[in-house]
């Protein structure tokens, strides 16, 4: 879903860059607040893993492929703020090192693939966690559904950008139908892969899954030490 240079006009791209920069600034500040120094390598791993799986295009329908966007996955594993930073780094490396995703479209791509997928996907995940019974299998199901939703949301936001500043002549409803249609299929793949990966991490180090913190899996119960008695003076 990497937008190349030229698809969307300069004004719209610049507007998206401003929104993306604002979102990234907020995400970086929040990441600094919630990230424990010892968890930094885990965040680096999530970014590196998302880069790797974004290379793995799988066939969806004849002549069309899709790959994991990984925004929902990153949000569920390391939290939305850190996750947004991770996916943005992936997009920057892709655009600067591999000429994948236009330089003028970097704001659009960060908005669509690092902010919409991360925060949209995480919002769905949180709602589903509240609706589903508590437990690891609910985390896996919620992860998969949230990831599938995040891809469709990202495709819908691309369509919005095309409607505002697309340089092509195709009618917006046609583009909307085509984008959402194919990305529902890609989203199913995203959902399955995300559920499998979250399940694998839950099976090995459940305490490292941000979205399952509340379950307290494989952790010693927090010590409830009595407060020290205040000495009466």
């Amino acid at each position: 879903m990497h937008i190349p240079d030229g698809f969307i006009d300069g004004t719209t791209s610049a507007g998206a860059a401003v929104v993306a920069a604002g979102g990234m600034g907020a995400a970086l500040r929040r990441a600094g607040e919630v990230l424990d120094e010892r968890r930094v390598p885990l965040a680096g791993l999530v970014a590196a893993f998302v880069f790797a799986v974004q290379m793995l295009n799988f066939p969806v329908v004849s002549g069309t492929s899709g790959h994991l966007l990984g925004g929902a996955l990153a949000a569920i594993l390391v939290g939305p703020a850190v996750g947004a930073v991770c996916v943005s780094v992936v997009l920057a490396v892709q655009a600067l090192l591999f000429a994948d995703g236009g330089l003028s479209a970097i704001g659009l791509n960060v908005l669509n693939m690092a902010l919409v997928t991360v925060f949209g996907g995480y919002a769905v995940f949180v709602v589903l966690r509240r609706l589903l019974p508590r437990g690891p299998s609910s985390v896996v199901v919620a992860s998969g559904v949230a990831a599938a939703f995040s891809v469709v949301a990202s495709a819908a936001v691309f369509t919005l950008e095309y409607a505002i500043g697309g340089t092509g002549t195709a009618a917006v409803p046609t583009v909307a139908g085509a984008m959402v249609g194919v990305h529902v299929l890609i989203g199913i793949g995203e959902g399955i892969i995300t559920g499998l990966v979250v399940g694998a991490v839950l099976a090995t180090r459940a305490d490292l899954v941000w979205g399952a913190r509340d379950l307290g899996l494989e952790l010693e119960p927090a010590a409830h030490r009595p407060l020290p008695e205040r000495v009466a003076s």
Binding site: V34, R38, L45, F49, T64, T204
Partner: protein
């Protein structure tokens, strides 16, 4: 199976590197969803050249490596390594700056890794 934290990161990186090196050359080369829609809807030709198309690793191929699969695999390994370093480095800077600028303990307590909050997963 429970892994130590360091082992978890090492195993995870090994998986990412293996996917990038061994699996990515087998990935589908069909256009992705957006590109296919652009072709079908006639706006693919609005794409303009990427300013970095002539750089040594553009298009996930390492210039000078003639074997296509090896070239893509090496590009994947380079990408995984650089993404890990940049994301980790950036977040380390952000985290340290925050830690230096505030003497308050982090919300997850001194250990961080053992936070066990009964709160909902909603709090980001």
């Amino acid at each position: 199976m429970r892994l130590g934290f360091g082992a978890f990161v090492v195993v995870g990186l090994a998986v990412a590197l293996a996917l990038a090196f061994f699996v990515s050359p087998q990935a589908s080369s069909d256009p992705d969803g957006l590109k296919k829609v652009a072709i079908d809807q006639g706006f693919a030709e609005t794409e303009t050249d990427h300013a970095l198309d002539d750089t040594p690793t553009a298009g996930y191929e390492v210039r000078g490596v003639d074997d296509g699969r090896l070239s893509t695999g090496l590009a994947g390994v380079i990408g995984v390594a650089i993404t890990f370093a940049v994301a980790g480095g950036l977040l380390l800077v952000v985290q340290r700056r925050r830690a230096a600028g505030s003497s308050r303990p982090s919300p997850s307590g001194p250990s961080g890794l053992s936070s066990r909050s009964p709160a909902s997963p909603a709090s980001p």
